[in-house]
Protein backbone atom coordinates (compact mmCIF):
# COMPACT_ATOMS: atom_id res chain seq x y z
CA UNK A 1 0.00 0.00 0.00
CA UNK A 2 1.46 3.36 -0.94
CA UNK A 3 2.47 5.54 2.00
CA UNK A 4 0.39 8.50 0.81
CA UNK A 5 -2.76 6.40 0.59
CA UNK A 6 -2.05 4.87 4.00
CA UNK A 7 -1.58 8.32 5.60
CA UNK A 8 -4.69 9.69 3.87
CA UNK A 9 -6.80 6.81 5.14
CA UNK A 10 -5.37 7.12 8.67
CA UNK A 11 -6.38 10.80 8.66
CA UNK A 12 -9.88 9.85 7.43
CA UNK A 13 -10.30 7.23 10.17
CA UNK A 14 -9.09 9.74 12.77
CA UNK A 15 -11.61 12.31 11.52
CA UNK A 16 -14.39 9.75 11.91
CA UNK A 17 -13.34 9.05 15.51
CA UNK A 18 -13.27 12.76 16.29
CA UNK A 19 -16.74 13.10 14.73
CA UNK A 20 -17.86 10.23 16.93
CA UNK A 21 -16.70 12.23 19.97
CA UNK A 22 -18.10 15.63 19.01
CA UNK A 23 -21.08 14.83 16.81
CA UNK A 24 -22.72 11.67 18.17
CA UNK A 25 -24.86 11.19 21.24
CA UNK A 26 -22.47 8.63 22.70
CA UNK A 27 -19.49 10.94 22.14
CA UNK A 28 -21.22 13.85 23.79
CA UNK A 29 -22.10 11.60 26.73
CA UNK A 30 -18.42 10.71 27.00
CA UNK A 31 -17.52 14.39 27.01
CA UNK A 32 -20.16 15.09 29.65
CA UNK A 33 -18.94 12.21 31.84
CA UNK A 34 -15.33 13.40 31.50
CA UNK A 35 -16.37 16.94 32.40
CA UNK A 36 -18.23 15.74 35.51
CA UNK A 37 -15.30 13.59 36.69
CA UNK A 38 -12.81 16.43 36.19
CA UNK A 39 -15.17 18.94 37.80
CA UNK A 40 -15.22 16.91 41.02
CA UNK A 41 -11.47 16.27 40.86
CA UNK A 42 -10.70 19.95 40.27
CA UNK A 43 -13.26 21.30 42.71
CA UNK A 44 -12.82 18.93 45.60
CA UNK A 45 -9.28 17.53 45.19
CA UNK A 46 -6.99 19.69 43.11
CA UNK A 47 -8.16 23.16 44.18
CA UNK A 48 -8.01 22.53 47.98
CA UNK A 49 -4.81 20.48 47.71
CA UNK A 50 -3.17 23.28 45.72
CA UNK A 51 -3.48 25.54 48.72
CA UNK A 52 -1.86 22.91 50.94
CA UNK A 53 0.97 22.44 48.46
CA UNK A 54 1.69 26.17 48.66
CA UNK A 55 2.36 26.01 52.39
CA UNK A 56 6.12 26.16 53.22
CA UNK A 57 5.80 23.66 56.10
CA UNK A 58 4.20 21.09 53.81
CA UNK A 59 6.93 21.65 51.22
CA UNK A 60 9.63 21.10 53.84
CA UNK A 61 7.95 17.92 55.05
CA UNK A 62 7.61 16.58 51.48
CA UNK A 63 11.24 17.29 50.71
CA UNK A 64 12.34 15.62 53.96
CA UNK A 65 10.16 12.56 53.48
CA UNK A 66 10.55 11.93 49.75
CA UNK A 67 13.71 13.78 48.86
CA UNK A 68 15.55 10.52 48.25
CA UNK A 69 12.90 9.51 45.72
CA UNK A 70 13.00 12.87 44.00
CA UNK A 71 9.33 13.52 44.66
CA UNK A 72 10.17 16.99 45.94
CA UNK A 73 10.67 17.83 42.23
CA UNK A 74 6.88 17.88 42.03
CA UNK A 75 7.01 21.23 43.77
CA UNK A 76 8.90 22.70 40.82
CA UNK A 77 5.92 22.76 38.48
CA UNK A 78 4.91 26.40 37.76
CA UNK A 79 1.48 25.92 39.35
CA UNK A 80 0.46 23.53 42.16
CA UNK A 81 -2.70 22.69 40.21
CA UNK A 82 -0.49 21.27 37.45
CA UNK A 83 1.43 19.19 40.02
CA UNK A 84 -1.74 17.56 41.22
CA UNK A 85 -3.17 17.18 37.71
CA UNK A 86 0.08 15.50 36.64
CA UNK A 87 0.01 12.99 39.52
CA UNK A 88 -3.68 12.19 39.20
CA UNK A 89 -3.57 11.83 35.42
CA UNK A 90 -0.55 9.55 35.41
CA UNK A 91 -2.36 7.12 37.71
CA UNK A 92 -5.95 7.49 36.50
CA UNK A 93 -5.76 7.92 32.74
CA UNK A 94 -4.08 4.59 31.85
CA UNK A 95 -6.84 2.77 33.76
CA UNK A 96 -9.61 4.83 32.14
CA UNK A 97 -7.92 4.42 28.77
CA UNK A 98 -8.46 0.66 28.85
CA UNK A 99 -12.22 1.10 29.10
CA UNK A 100 -12.39 4.12 26.85
CA UNK A 101 -10.60 2.54 23.88
CA UNK A 102 -11.99 -0.99 24.15
CA UNK A 103 -14.29 -0.63 21.15
CA UNK A 104 -11.82 0.22 18.43
CA UNK A 105 -12.60 -2.72 16.15
CA UNK A 106 -14.77 -5.32 17.86
CA UNK A 107 -18.10 -3.50 17.48
CA UNK A 108 -17.59 -2.87 13.79
CA UNK A 109 -16.44 -6.44 13.26
CA UNK A 110 -19.49 -7.87 15.03
CA UNK A 111 -21.87 -5.56 13.14
CA UNK A 112 -20.23 -6.32 9.79
CA UNK A 113 -19.30 -2.68 9.15
CA UNK A 114 -15.67 -3.74 8.75
CA UNK A 115 -16.78 -5.69 5.67
CA UNK A 116 -17.77 -2.47 3.96
CA UNK A 117 -14.56 -0.77 5.06
CA UNK A 118 -12.19 -3.59 4.16
CA UNK A 119 -13.30 -3.39 0.51
CA UNK A 120 -11.85 0.13 0.45
CA UNK A 121 -8.99 0.05 2.90
CA UNK A 122 -6.25 -2.34 3.97
CA UNK A 123 -6.47 -3.92 7.38
CA UNK A 124 -3.19 -2.20 8.29
CA UNK A 125 -4.79 1.18 7.58
CA UNK A 126 -7.85 0.18 9.63
CA UNK A 127 -5.70 -0.75 12.66
CA UNK A 128 -3.51 2.35 12.46
CA UNK A 129 -6.43 4.62 11.64
CA UNK A 130 -8.52 3.50 14.58
CA UNK A 131 -5.51 3.70 16.91
CA UNK A 132 -4.64 7.23 15.79
CA UNK A 133 -8.31 8.19 16.02
CA UNK A 134 -8.46 7.05 19.62
CA UNK A 135 -5.28 8.97 20.41
CA UNK A 136 -6.74 12.11 18.83
CA UNK A 137 -9.89 11.73 20.94
CA UNK A 138 -7.85 11.24 24.12
CA UNK A 139 -5.69 14.23 23.27
CA UNK A 140 -8.87 16.33 23.03
CA UNK A 141 -9.97 15.17 26.46
CA UNK A 142 -6.51 15.78 27.95
CA UNK A 143 -6.34 19.30 26.48
CA UNK A 144 -9.81 20.14 27.75
CA UNK A 145 -9.06 18.95 31.27
CA UNK A 146 -5.69 20.73 31.25
CA UNK A 147 -7.38 23.93 30.10
CA UNK A 148 -9.81 23.63 33.01
CA UNK A 149 -6.86 23.12 35.39
CA UNK A 150 -5.10 26.18 34.02
CA UNK A 151 -8.28 28.23 34.41
CA UNK A 152 -8.52 27.23 38.08
CA UNK A 153 -4.86 28.12 38.56
CA UNK A 154 -5.38 31.48 36.82
CA UNK A 155 -8.41 32.28 38.96
CA UNK A 156 -6.48 31.50 42.15
CA UNK A 157 -3.29 33.36 41.17
CA UNK A 158 -5.00 36.15 39.21
CA UNK A 159 -2.73 35.60 36.18
CA UNK A 160 -1.23 32.89 34.01
CA UNK A 161 2.43 32.49 33.17
CA UNK A 162 4.01 31.27 29.95
CA UNK A 163 5.81 28.65 32.06
CA UNK A 164 2.45 27.21 33.11
CA UNK A 165 1.28 26.98 29.51
CA UNK A 166 4.54 25.34 28.48
CA UNK A 167 4.27 22.92 31.39
CA UNK A 168 0.71 22.07 30.33
CA UNK A 169 1.94 21.31 26.80
CA UNK A 170 4.69 19.08 28.22
CA UNK A 171 2.16 17.27 30.39
CA UNK A 172 -0.15 16.68 27.42
CA UNK A 173 2.77 15.25 25.39
CA UNK A 174 3.78 12.97 28.23
CA UNK A 175 0.26 11.79 28.89
CA UNK A 176 -0.31 11.03 25.24
CA UNK A 177 2.87 8.94 25.17
CA UNK A 178 1.88 7.19 28.42
CA UNK A 179 -1.51 6.29 26.91
CA UNK A 180 -0.08 5.01 23.63
CA UNK A 181 0.83 1.46 24.75
CA UNK A 182 -2.47 1.09 26.65
CA UNK A 183 -4.43 2.23 23.59
CA UNK A 184 -2.41 -0.09 21.37
CA UNK A 185 -3.00 -2.93 23.84
CA UNK A 186 -6.73 -2.36 23.46
CA UNK A 187 -6.28 -2.34 19.67
CA UNK A 188 -4.91 -5.87 20.05
CA UNK A 189 -7.79 -7.09 22.19
CA UNK A 190 -10.48 -5.35 20.18
CA UNK A 191 -9.07 -6.92 17.01
CA UNK A 192 -9.35 -10.28 18.70
CA UNK A 193 -12.54 -10.12 20.77
CA UNK A 194 -16.15 -10.17 19.57
CA UNK A 195 -17.25 -7.30 21.82
CA UNK A 196 -15.75 -4.32 23.59
CA UNK A 197 -16.75 -5.77 26.96
CA UNK A 198 -14.89 -8.98 26.21
CA UNK A 199 -11.91 -6.98 24.95
CA UNK A 200 -11.77 -5.02 28.21
CA UNK A 201 -12.12 -8.17 30.32
CA UNK A 202 -9.39 -9.91 28.36
CA UNK A 203 -7.08 -6.91 28.75
CA UNK A 204 -7.57 -6.69 32.50
CA UNK A 205 -7.18 -10.43 33.01
CA UNK A 206 -4.14 -10.59 30.73
CA UNK A 207 -2.39 -7.70 32.49
CA UNK A 208 -3.18 -9.31 35.85
CA UNK A 209 -1.95 -12.73 34.78
CA UNK A 210 1.25 -11.35 33.24
CA UNK A 211 1.96 -9.26 36.32
CA UNK A 212 1.23 -12.25 38.58
CA UNK A 213 3.49 -14.56 36.59
CA UNK A 214 6.27 -11.98 36.60
CA UNK A 215 5.93 -11.54 40.36
CA UNK A 216 6.10 -15.31 40.85
CA UNK A 217 9.12 -15.54 38.55
CA UNK A 218 10.91 -12.68 40.30
CA UNK A 219 10.16 -14.21 43.70
CA UNK A 220 11.97 -17.38 42.62
CA UNK A 221 14.50 -15.68 40.33
CA UNK A 222 15.25 -12.17 41.68
CA UNK A 223 17.60 -11.57 38.74
CA UNK A 224 14.53 -11.38 36.49
CA UNK A 225 13.26 -8.23 38.22
CA UNK A 226 14.33 -6.16 35.20
CA UNK A 227 11.37 -7.66 33.29
CA UNK A 228 8.99 -5.44 35.27
CA UNK A 229 10.53 -2.44 33.50
CA UNK A 230 9.01 -3.67 30.24
CA UNK A 231 5.41 -3.76 31.48
CA UNK A 232 3.13 -1.10 29.96
CA UNK A 233 3.22 1.96 32.17
CA UNK A 234 6.45 0.93 33.90
CA UNK A 235 7.96 4.36 33.18
CA UNK A 236 5.16 6.15 35.05
CA UNK A 237 7.04 5.98 38.39
CA UNK A 238 10.08 7.57 36.76
CA UNK A 239 7.88 10.20 35.17
CA UNK A 240 6.23 11.44 38.37
CA UNK A 241 9.26 13.47 39.54
CA UNK A 242 10.39 14.25 35.98
CA UNK A 243 10.61 17.87 34.80
CA UNK A 244 11.36 19.64 31.52
CA UNK A 245 11.31 18.57 27.89
CA UNK A 246 14.37 16.36 28.37
CA UNK A 247 12.13 13.97 30.30
CA UNK A 248 10.73 12.93 26.90
CA UNK A 249 13.73 10.62 26.66
CA UNK A 250 11.61 8.24 28.73
CA UNK A 251 9.31 7.92 25.71
CA UNK A 252 11.43 5.29 23.98
CA UNK A 253 9.98 2.34 25.89
CA UNK A 254 6.27 3.20 25.51
CA UNK A 255 6.81 3.96 21.83
CA UNK A 256 8.49 0.60 21.34
CA UNK A 257 5.70 -1.16 23.25
CA UNK A 258 3.14 0.63 21.08
CA UNK A 259 4.86 -0.48 17.88
CA UNK A 260 4.90 -4.10 19.06
CA UNK A 261 1.24 -4.06 20.09
CA UNK A 262 0.16 -2.48 16.81
CA UNK A 263 2.08 -5.09 14.85
CA UNK A 264 0.31 -7.83 16.82
CA UNK A 265 -3.07 -6.16 16.25
CA UNK A 266 -2.39 -5.88 12.53
CA UNK A 267 -1.49 -9.57 12.36
CA UNK A 268 -4.61 -10.57 14.30
CA UNK A 269 -6.94 -8.47 12.14
CA UNK A 270 -5.28 -9.67 8.93
CA UNK A 271 -5.99 -13.27 9.91
CA UNK A 272 -9.44 -12.64 11.33
CA UNK A 273 -12.50 -13.70 9.34
CA UNK A 274 -14.77 -10.69 8.88
Amino acid sequence: MSMMLLLRQIVLFSQVELSRLWLTRRGLMTLAATAVVWFFLLRYAIAPASDILQEPNFQKSLTAAFGMLGLHQLLNWPAPELTLYWMLSLILLPILCLAFTANQLSGDAARGTLRFISLRSSRTAIVLGRFCGQLAVQLCLILLSLAATLIISTVRQGSISWQAIEAALLISCHLLIVLMPFTALMTVFSAWARSSRLALSLAIVSLGVVFGLLSWLIYHQPDMAFLLKYMPGAQIWQLIPAQGWQSLQLAALPLAQTAVFLLIAQQILSRRAL
Binding site: M1, L5, Q9, L12, V16, S19, R20, T24, R25, R26, D108, R111, G112, T113, R115, F116, I117, S118, L119, R120, S121, S122, R271, A273, L274
Partner: protein
Amino acid sequence: MNNPIIKVTQLVKSYGRHKVLNNISFEINKGETVALIGQNGAGKTTLFSLLCGYLKADSGSMQLLGEQPGSQALFGKVAALPQDAQLDPAFSIGQQLSFYGQLQGLTGREARAETERVLALVDLAAHYHTKAGALSHGMRKRACMAQAFIGSPALILLDEPTAGLDPANALHIRELISDLSQHASFLISSHNIFELERLCNKVLYLQDGQLQQHNAQPNESIAHLSLQLATGKEAAAINSDEVCQQLRQLAGVKEVSAGRNHEYQLSYQPQVVDDFDIRLLQCLAANGWQYKQLSKGKTLEQQLFARKQAATVLS
Protein backbone atom coordinates in the same frame (compact mmCIF):
# COMPACT_ATOMS: atom_id res chain seq x y z
CA MET B 1 -10.89 -14.26 -26.37
CA ASN B 2 -12.78 -14.27 -23.07
CA ASN B 3 -11.55 -11.93 -20.38
CA PRO B 4 -12.40 -13.49 -16.99
CA ILE B 5 -13.27 -10.93 -14.39
CA ILE B 6 -13.34 -13.68 -11.76
CA LYS B 7 -11.19 -16.78 -12.04
CA VAL B 8 -11.45 -19.40 -9.32
CA THR B 9 -9.37 -22.55 -9.45
CA GLN B 10 -9.72 -25.63 -7.22
CA LEU B 11 -10.95 -23.62 -4.28
CA VAL B 12 -11.29 -25.47 -0.99
CA LYS B 13 -12.69 -24.13 2.27
CA SER B 14 -13.52 -26.14 5.37
CA TYR B 15 -14.96 -25.28 8.77
CA GLY B 16 -13.44 -27.87 11.07
CA ARG B 17 -14.08 -31.23 9.41
CA HIS B 18 -16.92 -29.91 7.30
CA LYS B 19 -15.75 -29.15 3.78
CA VAL B 20 -18.03 -26.35 2.59
CA LEU B 21 -16.37 -25.78 -0.77
CA ASN B 22 -14.72 -28.74 -2.41
CA ASN B 23 -12.38 -28.04 -5.29
CA ILE B 24 -14.61 -25.61 -7.09
CA SER B 25 -13.44 -23.86 -10.25
CA PHE B 26 -15.23 -21.37 -12.43
CA GLU B 27 -14.77 -18.24 -14.45
CA ILE B 28 -16.98 -15.22 -14.87
CA ASN B 29 -16.42 -13.01 -17.89
CA LYS B 30 -16.69 -9.28 -18.16
CA GLY B 31 -20.25 -8.08 -18.63
CA GLU B 32 -21.89 -11.25 -17.34
CA THR B 33 -24.57 -11.23 -14.66
CA VAL B 34 -24.21 -14.47 -12.80
CA ALA B 35 -26.53 -16.13 -10.31
CA LEU B 36 -25.18 -18.12 -7.39
CA ILE B 37 -27.73 -20.66 -6.25
CA GLY B 38 -27.72 -23.34 -3.63
CA GLN B 39 -29.57 -24.65 -0.64
CA ASN B 40 -29.09 -23.24 2.84
CA GLY B 41 -25.59 -24.10 4.00
CA ALA B 42 -24.42 -24.85 0.47
CA GLY B 43 -21.54 -22.39 0.86
CA LYS B 44 -22.82 -19.39 -1.10
CA THR B 45 -21.98 -16.85 1.61
CA THR B 46 -18.64 -18.57 2.22
CA LEU B 47 -17.81 -18.22 -1.47
CA PHE B 48 -18.83 -14.56 -1.35
CA SER B 49 -16.70 -13.99 1.72
CA LEU B 50 -13.71 -15.62 0.05
CA LEU B 51 -14.13 -13.51 -3.08
CA CYS B 52 -14.38 -10.34 -0.98
CA GLY B 53 -11.28 -11.26 1.03
CA TYR B 54 -13.18 -11.60 4.31
CA LEU B 55 -12.04 -15.22 4.64
CA LYS B 56 -8.89 -17.08 3.66
CA ALA B 57 -9.17 -20.19 1.52
CA ASP B 58 -7.64 -23.47 2.64
CA SER B 59 -6.26 -24.06 -0.85
CA GLY B 60 -6.85 -23.08 -4.44
CA SER B 61 -6.58 -19.73 -6.10
CA MET B 62 -8.88 -16.79 -6.77
CA GLN B 63 -8.37 -13.79 -8.99
CA LEU B 64 -10.66 -10.81 -9.35
CA LEU B 65 -9.70 -8.50 -12.21
CA GLY B 66 -6.36 -10.31 -12.16
CA GLU B 67 -5.71 -9.54 -8.50
CA GLN B 68 -5.93 -11.45 -5.23
CA PRO B 69 -9.09 -10.81 -3.16
CA GLY B 70 -8.47 -7.98 -0.69
CA SER B 71 -5.71 -6.49 -2.83
CA GLN B 72 -5.31 -2.72 -2.76
CA ALA B 73 -5.67 -2.67 -6.55
CA LEU B 74 -9.30 -3.78 -6.10
CA PHE B 75 -10.30 -0.91 -3.80
CA GLY B 76 -13.13 0.90 -5.57
CA LYS B 77 -13.25 -1.65 -8.38
CA VAL B 78 -14.93 -4.48 -6.51
CA ALA B 79 -18.01 -3.69 -4.45
CA ALA B 80 -20.17 -5.98 -2.37
CA LEU B 81 -23.33 -6.22 -0.40
CA PRO B 82 -22.40 -8.75 2.29
CA GLN B 83 -25.19 -10.66 3.96
CA ASP B 84 -26.24 -9.24 7.35
CA ALA B 85 -23.61 -6.49 7.40
CA GLN B 86 -24.90 -3.25 8.92
CA LEU B 87 -23.86 0.37 8.81
CA ASP B 88 -22.79 2.10 12.03
CA PRO B 89 -26.02 3.17 13.79
CA ALA B 90 -24.31 6.20 15.37
CA PHE B 91 -23.77 8.05 12.08
CA SER B 92 -26.09 9.15 9.30
CA ILE B 93 -26.05 7.01 6.17
CA GLY B 94 -24.86 10.03 4.18
CA GLN B 95 -21.86 10.53 6.45
CA GLN B 96 -20.91 6.88 6.21
CA LEU B 97 -21.27 6.57 2.46
CA SER B 98 -19.30 9.80 2.00
CA PHE B 99 -16.58 8.34 4.23
CA TYR B 100 -16.53 5.20 2.07
CA GLY B 101 -16.28 7.37 -1.03
CA GLN B 102 -13.33 9.23 0.46
CA LEU B 103 -11.64 5.94 1.33
CA GLN B 104 -12.01 5.07 -2.35
CA GLY B 105 -10.08 8.21 -3.23
CA LEU B 106 -12.81 10.78 -3.81
CA THR B 107 -12.49 14.28 -2.38
CA GLY B 108 -14.95 15.33 0.30
CA ARG B 109 -17.12 17.22 -2.20
CA GLU B 110 -17.01 14.42 -4.78
CA ALA B 111 -17.85 11.85 -2.10
CA ARG B 112 -20.89 13.84 -1.00
CA ALA B 113 -22.13 14.20 -4.58
CA GLU B 114 -21.56 10.50 -5.21
CA THR B 115 -23.39 9.62 -2.00
CA GLU B 116 -26.37 11.71 -3.06
CA ARG B 117 -26.36 9.93 -6.43
CA VAL B 118 -26.28 6.39 -5.04
CA LEU B 119 -28.86 7.17 -2.36
CA ALA B 120 -31.14 8.46 -5.11
CA LEU B 121 -30.60 5.19 -6.98
CA VAL B 122 -32.09 3.25 -4.07
CA ASP B 123 -34.78 5.85 -3.41
CA LEU B 124 -33.20 7.16 -0.18
CA ALA B 125 -32.20 10.63 -1.35
CA ALA B 126 -34.30 12.21 1.39
CA HIS B 127 -32.53 10.21 4.09
CA TYR B 128 -28.98 11.54 3.70
CA HIS B 129 -29.00 12.83 7.27
CA THR B 130 -30.93 9.92 8.80
CA LYS B 131 -28.93 7.75 11.16
CA ALA B 132 -28.62 4.12 10.13
CA GLY B 133 -30.11 3.05 13.44
CA ALA B 134 -33.30 5.04 12.73
CA LEU B 135 -34.03 3.33 9.41
CA SER B 136 -36.39 0.41 8.86
CA HIS B 137 -34.94 -2.98 7.91
CA GLY B 138 -35.73 -2.50 4.24
CA MET B 139 -34.29 1.00 4.16
CA ARG B 140 -31.11 -0.16 5.89
CA LYS B 141 -30.80 -2.89 3.29
CA ARG B 142 -31.14 -0.35 0.50
CA ALA B 143 -28.61 1.95 2.17
CA CYS B 144 -26.18 -0.97 2.39
CA MET B 145 -26.81 -1.66 -1.28
CA ALA B 146 -26.17 1.98 -2.15
CA GLN B 147 -22.64 1.72 -0.76
CA ALA B 148 -21.94 -1.00 -3.33
CA PHE B 149 -22.65 1.45 -6.16
CA ILE B 150 -20.23 4.19 -5.00
CA GLY B 151 -17.73 5.09 -7.72
CA SER B 152 -17.73 2.91 -10.77
CA PRO B 153 -17.04 -0.65 -9.63
CA ALA B 154 -16.34 -3.15 -12.40
CA LEU B 155 -17.59 -6.07 -10.33
CA ILE B 156 -20.44 -6.04 -7.83
CA LEU B 157 -21.13 -8.98 -5.54
CA LEU B 158 -24.60 -9.03 -4.01
CA ASP B 159 -25.53 -11.54 -1.34
CA GLU B 160 -29.33 -11.79 -1.04
CA PRO B 161 -29.95 -8.29 -2.41
CA THR B 162 -33.73 -8.31 -2.09
CA ALA B 163 -34.14 -10.42 1.05
CA GLY B 164 -36.37 -8.56 3.49
CA LEU B 165 -37.55 -5.98 0.94
CA ASP B 166 -41.20 -5.39 0.16
CA PRO B 167 -42.29 -6.41 -3.38
CA ALA B 168 -42.25 -2.84 -4.75
CA ASN B 169 -38.72 -2.17 -3.52
CA ALA B 170 -37.56 -5.63 -4.60
CA LEU B 171 -38.81 -4.87 -8.10
CA HIS B 172 -37.06 -1.49 -8.01
CA ILE B 173 -33.78 -3.12 -6.99
CA ARG B 174 -34.12 -5.74 -9.73
CA GLU B 175 -34.64 -3.00 -12.30
CA LEU B 176 -31.67 -1.11 -10.89
CA ILE B 177 -29.41 -4.15 -11.15
CA SER B 178 -30.66 -4.76 -14.67
CA ASP B 179 -29.79 -1.16 -15.66
CA LEU B 180 -26.38 -1.23 -13.97
CA SER B 181 -25.48 -4.59 -15.50
CA GLN B 182 -24.79 -2.66 -18.73
CA HIS B 183 -21.75 -1.14 -17.01
CA ALA B 184 -20.61 -3.73 -14.45
CA SER B 185 -20.49 -7.46 -13.93
CA PHE B 186 -22.67 -8.88 -11.17
CA LEU B 187 -22.52 -12.01 -9.06
CA ILE B 188 -25.82 -12.37 -7.24
CA SER B 189 -26.73 -14.88 -4.58
CA SER B 190 -30.41 -15.35 -3.89
CA HIS B 191 -33.04 -17.91 -3.03
CA ASN B 192 -35.47 -16.09 -5.29
CA ILE B 193 -35.25 -18.14 -8.49
CA PHE B 194 -37.78 -15.86 -10.19
CA GLU B 195 -35.50 -12.91 -9.56
CA LEU B 196 -32.34 -14.62 -10.78
CA GLU B 197 -34.06 -15.94 -13.88
CA ARG B 198 -34.84 -12.40 -14.97
CA LEU B 199 -31.50 -10.85 -14.09
CA CYS B 200 -28.85 -13.41 -14.89
CA ASN B 201 -27.45 -15.01 -18.00
CA LYS B 202 -25.37 -17.62 -16.21
CA VAL B 203 -25.98 -19.80 -13.17
CA LEU B 204 -23.52 -21.27 -10.70
CA TYR B 205 -25.27 -23.96 -8.73
CA LEU B 206 -23.60 -25.02 -5.50
CA GLN B 207 -24.54 -28.45 -4.25
CA ASP B 208 -22.73 -30.50 -1.64
CA GLY B 209 -19.65 -28.32 -1.92
CA GLN B 210 -19.44 -28.86 -5.66
CA LEU B 211 -20.28 -26.43 -8.40
CA GLN B 212 -22.56 -27.19 -11.30
CA GLN B 213 -22.35 -24.62 -14.04
CA HIS B 214 -25.47 -23.91 -15.97
CA ASN B 215 -26.33 -21.53 -18.81
CA ALA B 216 -29.65 -19.83 -18.23
CA GLN B 217 -30.06 -19.06 -21.91
CA PRO B 218 -28.92 -22.25 -23.63
CA ASN B 219 -29.05 -22.77 -27.36
CA GLU B 220 -30.46 -26.24 -27.71
CA SER B 221 -32.02 -28.23 -30.53
CA ILE B 222 -34.74 -29.23 -28.07
CA ALA B 223 -37.12 -26.46 -27.02
CA HIS B 224 -39.27 -26.38 -23.93
CA LEU B 225 -42.64 -25.01 -22.97
CA SER B 226 -44.17 -24.62 -19.55
CA LEU B 227 -47.94 -24.82 -19.49
CA GLN B 228 -50.41 -24.40 -16.65
CA LEU B 229 -54.07 -25.11 -17.29
CA ALA B 230 -56.84 -23.14 -15.66
CA THR B 231 -59.12 -24.94 -13.26
CA GLY B 232 -62.40 -23.86 -11.72
CA LYS B 233 -66.11 -23.71 -12.45
CA GLU B 234 -65.83 -22.39 -15.98
CA ALA B 235 -62.97 -24.64 -17.04
CA ALA B 236 -63.60 -28.19 -18.24
CA ALA B 237 -62.77 -31.03 -15.88
CA ILE B 238 -59.15 -32.00 -16.49
CA ASN B 239 -57.59 -35.42 -16.40
CA SER B 240 -53.82 -35.12 -16.37
CA ASP B 241 -53.25 -38.44 -18.11
CA GLU B 242 -55.59 -37.41 -20.90
CA VAL B 243 -53.86 -34.04 -21.25
CA CYS B 244 -50.48 -35.71 -21.50
CA GLN B 245 -51.79 -38.17 -24.05
CA GLN B 246 -53.23 -35.40 -26.22
CA LEU B 247 -50.10 -33.29 -25.99
CA ARG B 248 -47.86 -36.22 -26.94
CA GLN B 249 -49.78 -36.53 -30.20
CA LEU B 250 -48.68 -33.08 -31.33
CA ALA B 251 -46.05 -33.11 -34.08
CA GLY B 252 -42.48 -32.67 -32.83
CA VAL B 253 -43.19 -33.43 -29.18
CA LYS B 254 -40.41 -35.40 -27.49
CA GLU B 255 -41.60 -35.49 -23.89
CA VAL B 256 -44.50 -34.37 -21.73
CA SER B 257 -44.46 -34.44 -17.95
CA ALA B 258 -47.20 -33.42 -15.55
CA GLY B 259 -46.59 -31.61 -12.31
CA ARG B 260 -48.81 -30.40 -9.52
CA ASN B 261 -51.62 -27.87 -10.09
CA HIS B 262 -52.01 -28.93 -13.72
CA GLU B 263 -48.58 -27.80 -14.71
CA TYR B 264 -47.00 -29.50 -17.70
CA GLN B 265 -43.51 -29.40 -19.13
CA LEU B 266 -43.22 -30.04 -22.85
CA SER B 267 -40.06 -30.76 -24.79
CA TYR B 268 -40.25 -30.55 -28.57
CA GLN B 269 -38.14 -30.22 -31.68
CA PRO B 270 -38.65 -26.69 -33.10
CA GLN B 271 -37.10 -27.67 -36.42
CA VAL B 272 -39.97 -30.17 -37.03
CA VAL B 273 -42.76 -27.58 -36.73
CA ASP B 274 -42.39 -23.82 -36.94
CA ASP B 275 -45.73 -23.01 -35.34
CA PHE B 276 -45.71 -25.42 -32.43
CA ASP B 277 -47.22 -22.99 -29.94
CA ILE B 278 -50.16 -22.28 -32.28
CA ARG B 279 -50.82 -25.99 -32.70
CA LEU B 280 -50.66 -26.37 -28.95
CA LEU B 281 -53.26 -23.65 -28.44
CA GLN B 282 -55.48 -25.26 -31.07
CA CYS B 283 -55.19 -28.58 -29.22
CA LEU B 284 -56.21 -26.91 -25.96
CA ALA B 285 -59.17 -25.19 -27.63
CA ALA B 286 -60.32 -28.40 -29.30
CA ASN B 287 -60.44 -30.12 -25.91
CA GLY B 288 -62.07 -27.21 -24.10
CA TRP B 289 -59.07 -26.65 -21.88
CA GLN B 290 -58.18 -23.08 -20.87
CA TYR B 291 -54.62 -22.18 -20.09
CA LYS B 292 -53.59 -20.02 -17.15
CA GLN B 293 -49.96 -19.58 -18.11
CA LEU B 294 -47.82 -20.51 -21.09
CA SER B 295 -44.15 -19.68 -21.26
CA LYS B 296 -41.31 -20.69 -23.50
CA GLY B 297 -38.40 -22.55 -22.00
CA LYS B 298 -38.08 -24.37 -18.71
CA THR B 299 -38.19 -22.31 -15.60
CA LEU B 300 -34.84 -22.06 -13.81
CA GLU B 301 -36.46 -23.91 -10.96
CA GLN B 302 -37.32 -26.79 -13.27
CA GLN B 303 -33.89 -26.81 -14.82
CA LEU B 304 -32.08 -26.91 -11.51
CA PHE B 305 -34.28 -28.91 -9.26
CA ALA B 306 -36.48 -31.19 -11.42
CA ARG B 307 -33.71 -33.77 -11.77
CA LYS B 308 -33.10 -33.74 -8.04
CA GLN B 309 -36.80 -34.13 -7.30
CA ALA B 310 -37.01 -37.02 -9.76
CA ALA B 311 -34.01 -38.66 -8.13
CA THR B 312 -35.62 -38.22 -4.72
CA VAL B 313 -38.87 -39.79 -5.92
CA LEU B 314 -37.05 -42.76 -7.45
CA SER B 315 -35.07 -43.42 -4.33
